[in-house]
């Protein structure tokens, strides 16, 4: 055991058991998987992705490039860092051999997102963040403080002094004051993305006992203060990937946070002062420590502290490599390759500001040769960076910089020695690892540069350096330094890669939040939905709507149900929920003018009480939508749109009205959900409507095709319209939506003597296709004009202009080889052609012509027809109307199916059925 009494903020009164690679280890609340393993002198059974070399724990937090584990219990999750997974009882993890694997079982945990607004968001609750938050809160600002560790304090170990008190006392007091000031303070919360206008995404790990495992906070802040600290920089040397090579500050963190001594025989290799604190603290905790300082001079204070503890300090000394099998047993030192035995080799090459969140929003970085790292330079408005994240490392300076006028004080650092910027030591570049996570070495960078790449973005892509889970937190700067060295340029000219969100990996489940399962996408239902469900309907998605597709009876498949429903409509009566049609109330003295401009046909001439089918096109002349238009009054129309296009049509109408013709006195109101529509169709529909509305004369003479009448039922207003999308006698019954279920029941009841049959969208599609009525978006695709659909009759020649008109005069729109809507009847009378099938030129030998096979068009709709007692299709065919009667071929699987081109209207072409 390497647990040291008197150290660590863990709860030693309780134990937790964690199973790693099949072995149970005990730890304590407050531990991580990494600290538990190191307390037992163990490591996860990891191996590297490319070379299969052993991998241990390289750091104590998110910068660790190697210590990955696969969590198995209680939740399966791949590739988390052992250093960031809190040790909880019953946790089961496994080492990662190269790469993790996705869970094969569904994640049953809850995830959510929460919006928070504040004046000031402070990222990081180390000394800089705490005093920045305190200053803002004391000034009366609303403050959110997030920090990714389990407790506030950042890198403070308790050995420091702030305002004359032990630092952790200051932390506790400040946390209490922030709570009293109403600061929203979230620990275990990583700000992982920073976006425009003060928008920050932060992932809160709420734990397995919480109702919701993880929460993404969507924080909108007036000002963002980045106090995310700094990341210790390693130095590359031969075999620096060997387990037991750890960042110096991480070993210190493990000691003070978890009471774990990561090694007994410690070599500290440094080019910076901070590692002396690690050397002294590990020596105090009982380790045998030796410091090798790359610099010619050791810092006075550090040397003194080492001398007091009997820690030898050698200056001007470089580690060139390591020895050991699956963990380090010695450091290889100096040009004479002297071996210094050790079980822990700590490395510190200085510190890199963690200014990633400033870079996310375009903050620029500038290379500071004093610290050997890039620090924030130009910042976007509303963003400040303080403390170590800003390149300010000494505690006294950090507090002064972040704390405002009431900043606390800390003793100044004694006689610091400048950092020596050292990317690597002499040795074999093929064994000096730059990105240990990617098995990428100095030799790989040399190859990239040798291949002509000089920009870090290119080298990154060539070598994969910085693309692992840690996104190059420790390796990125080393790579830049080595590129600079190899290309002979100053590092500031080499530049950097761009830090992008997320700062640390985020599970997709967390990003999805509660938008999973039933809440993935809104399911829109009509007022009649419960009836459809009770009637056993199968539903289909139309946009976000769920529409009854057909109502299968016992033993029926869709084909059988649809044939039965079609037959019922053609022979007796059926009823369909048409409520999802978009409905727009067009109101105002200039309503006729507006509609004349938007529809291809004339709407101003429509008489009050009448209905007209209308086609709407874009400026390109292609069909955009269609529907019926009811003239309710001289200054009022009710326009219907296709279900899927309802919002788009209203948007487009508003666009024209507001941006092009604001002078028109007309206003548009969506009434899609105000009104529900029951379509009652079939030769007996007149009987049904007559029975439910005895006061209405439903005779063909009194209630003609394409007219509407208002009536009422039990005092509730109802509108009846003679509109048919099946070619049959039909009525659309419109009522305010809350009354739709009751009205529908009345219609069904009145239809019972005629066997009224509820029918769904699939049946409706067959019925309309038999009549050659196109479905916009199925038989059209944005390249089809009304003329192509055979609807020249719907294009007014009387109007000077309307949207799309000018395009019809373009040469291409007069091309006789344009695809036109026609019917296709497979000559075998049996094959239902798959929708989307290509149509190829007739070939006599029954085989495909040589490639490229000339395409004539494609099948847009295809069904079995009850009325025709055979399958049929609609298709867009080049010059189709000139080819009526011709036989073309449709490849279906390996077969070529012959089909005869015909008029698009197959049932009742003379229109005799619409009046019953």
């Amino acid at each position: 055991m390497s647990r040291v009494d008197g150290y660590g903020r863990i709860d030693r009164s309780r134990t937790v058991t964690v199973t790693v690679d099949g072995t149970a280890y005990t730890g304590h609340p407050g531990d991580t998987v990494a600290s538990v393993l190191l307390a037992h002198g163990a490591r996860p059974q990891n191996s590297s992705v490319k070379y299969g070399r052993p991998r241990g724990i390289g750091a104590a937090w998110t910068e660790d490039p190697v210590g990955l584990v696969q969590v198995e219990e209680p939740f399966p999750e791949p590739m988390l860092l052992a250093a960031t997974v809190e040790a909880t009882d019953g946790l089961v993890v496994r080492g990662v051999a190269g790469q993790g694997r996705l869970a094969e079982v569904p994640d049953t945990a809850r995830y959510d997102r929460k919006h928070t607004h504040c004046d000031v968001l402070v990222v990081g609750a180390g000394p800089a963040g705490l005093v920045a938050a305190r200053a803002a809160a004391r000034a009366g600002r609303s403050v959110v403080l997030v920090d990714d560790r389990s407790a506030a304090g950042g890198t403070l170990t308790g050995t420091e002094t702030i305002d004359g008190r032990p630092s952790l006392e200051f932390v506790a007091d400040t946390v209490a004051e922030l709570a009293a000031l109403g600061v929203v303070h979230l620990q275990r919360t990583t700000a992982f993305g920073h976006y425009d206008d003060g928008f920050v995404l932060a992932l809160e790990r709420r734990g397995e006992s919480a109702r919701t495992r993880q929460r993404v906070h969507r924080i909108r802040a007036g000002r963002v203060v980045v106090a995310a600290g700094a990341i210790e920089r390693p130095i590359a040397f031969e075999d620096n990937d060997r387990p037991g090579v750890v960042l110096a500050a991480s070993a210190r963190d493990l000691l003070h946070r978890h009471g774990v001594l990561a090694g007994r025989e410690v070599v500290v290799f440094t080019s910076d002062d901070a590692a002396y604190a690690a050397a002294a603290d590990l020596a105090d905790a009982g380790a045998s420590v030796r410091v090798l300082d790359a610099r010619e001079r050791a810092p006075q204070a550090g040397r003194r502290r080492c001398e007091e503890r009997g820690v030898p300090v050698e200056t001007g000394t470089l580690v060139h490599g390591t020895r050991g099998e699956d963990r380090v047993t010695a450091a290889v030192v100096g040009p004479d390759r002297r071996e210094v035995p050790c079980d822990l080799l700590l490395v510190s090459g200085g510190w890199n500001p963690a200014a990633h969140l400033a870079s996310h929003v375009g903050g620029s970085l500038v290379y500071d040769p004093v610290i050997g790292a890039f620090r924030p330079a130009e910042l976007p408005p509303g963003v400040t960076v303080v403390g170590a994240a800003n390149g300010t490392f000494a505690l006294a300076d950090v507090l002064r910089e972040a704390g405002g006028p009431e900043a606390p004080v800390a003793p100044a650092q004694e006689w610091p020695e400048p950092t020596l910027v050292l990317w690597r030591t002499p040795g074999d570049p093929a064994r000096q690892f730059v990105d240990i996570a990617r098995d990428a070495t100095v030799a790989d960078v040399e190859r990239a540069v040798g291949a002509g790449m000089s920009h870090p973005e290119h080298v990154k892509r060539y070598t994969t350096i910085g693309t692992a889970h840690d996104q190059g937190k420790t390796s990125g700067i080393i790579a830049l330094g080595i590129i600079a060295e190899l290309t002979g340029r100053p590092i500031q000219e080499v530049g950097t890669t761009t830090a992008r969100p997320p700062y640390t990996p985020v599970a997709f489940a967390a990003l999805a939040g509660r938008e999973r399962g039933d809440l993935f996408d809104p399911v829109r239902t009509t007022a009649l939905h419960a009836w459809h469900v009770a009637a056993g309907a199968e539903f289909e998605d139309v946009g976000q709507w769920q529409r009854a597709r057909h109502y299968p009876r016992a033993g029926e498949d869709m084909t059988a149900a649809v044939l039965r429903e079609c037959a019922a409509v053609r022979t007796s009566v059926g009823i369909m929920d048409a409520s999802t049609l978009g409905k727009i109330d067009v109101r105002g003295p200039d309503a006729p003018v507006l509609l004349d401009r938007l529809y291809t046909n004339l709407m101003s001439s429509l008489k009050v009480g009448r209905v007209r089918y209308g086609v709407m096109c874009g400026n390109d002349g292609m069909v955009f939508d269609d529907g019926t238009v009811l003239r309710l009054a001289e200054d009022r129309y009710l326009v219907t749109t296709t279900t899927g296009n309802a919002a788009a049509v209203l948007d487009r109408m508003e666009e024209w009205l507001q941006t092009e013709w604001p002078d028109l006195r007309v206003r548009l109101t969506s009434v899609t959900e105000q009104w529900s529509i029951a379509a009652v169709a079939g030769p007996r529909s007149r009987d049904v409507i007559g029975a439910v509305f005895p006061g209405v004369d439903v005779s063909a003479e009194a209630f003609g095709f394409t007219t509407w009448q208002d009536t009422s039922l039990d005092g509730v207003p109802v509108r009846l319209a003679r509109i048919s999308f099946s070619g049959e006698l039909a009525f659309e019954v419109t009522v305010s939506s809350p009354y739709a279920p009751a009205l529908w029941e009345r219609l069904v009841e009145a239809g019972a003597p005629y066997g009224i049959t509820p029918y769904g969208t699939e049946t409706m599609h067959v019925l309309r296709a038999e009549k050659g009525y196109p479905i916009i978006g199925q038989d059209t695709d944005g390249t089809v004009s009304p003329h192509d659909l055979g609807m020249a009759w719907a294009v007014s020649t009387k109007k000077d202009d309307f949207v799309g008109k000018r395009s019809y005069a373009r040469a291409e729109n007069r091309n006789p080889l344009r695809k036109q809507l026609v019917s296709l009847l497979p000559t075998d009378g049996a094959t239902k052609l798959p929708e989307g099938s290509q149509i190829v030129a007739h070939c006599d030998d029954g085989r495909l012509p040589p490639a490229p096979v000339p395409m004539l068009g494609h099948v847009t709709s295809s069904y079995h027809s009850a009325a025709l007692a055979r399958p049929f299709a609609l298709a867009l065919v080049k010059g189709g109307r000139e080819r009526l009667g011709e036989v073309v071929h449709v490849p279906v699987g390996d077969e070529l199916v012959a089909a005869r081109i015909g008029e698009s209207v197959l049932v009742d072409p003379e229109g005799a059925r619409r009046d019953g």
Binding site: Y195, D197, R218, G362, N619, D651, T659, R810
Partner: protein
């Protein structure tokens, strides 16, 4: 998630808005008098500057009003306070 300032509703998240392309492209007074090329230019061609660009936006999830704003296409920053149609503003 950028904020866009609707002249009526104030700043809202960008997902509440829809983009309407270049502003100030008027529907031709007499389309019939245009050549095919002129008409095609109106239908299909829009400016695509690097820098300030006057655009139309609609606050779809809010007041449903269209407005014009100048945005820098390099930075996404809105450079002017958006202006709504004067006819519709009190």
């Amino acid at each position: 998630m950028q904020l866009i300032t609707c002249p009526w509703c104030g700043p809202r998240e960008e997902i509440e808005f829809s983009y309407g392309g270049q502003a100030g492209v008027a529907y031709p007074e007499h389309p019939a008098s245009l050549t095919d090329e002129q008409w095609a230019h109106f239908v299909f061609f829009r400016d695509n500057p690097k820098g300030p660009f006057a655009e139309r936006w609609s606050h779809n999830a809010g007041c449903r009003r269209w407005f014009t704003a100048v945005r820098d296409t390099r930075t996404y920053r809105f450079l002017s306070s958006p202006t709504s149609n004067p006819e519709l503003t009190s």
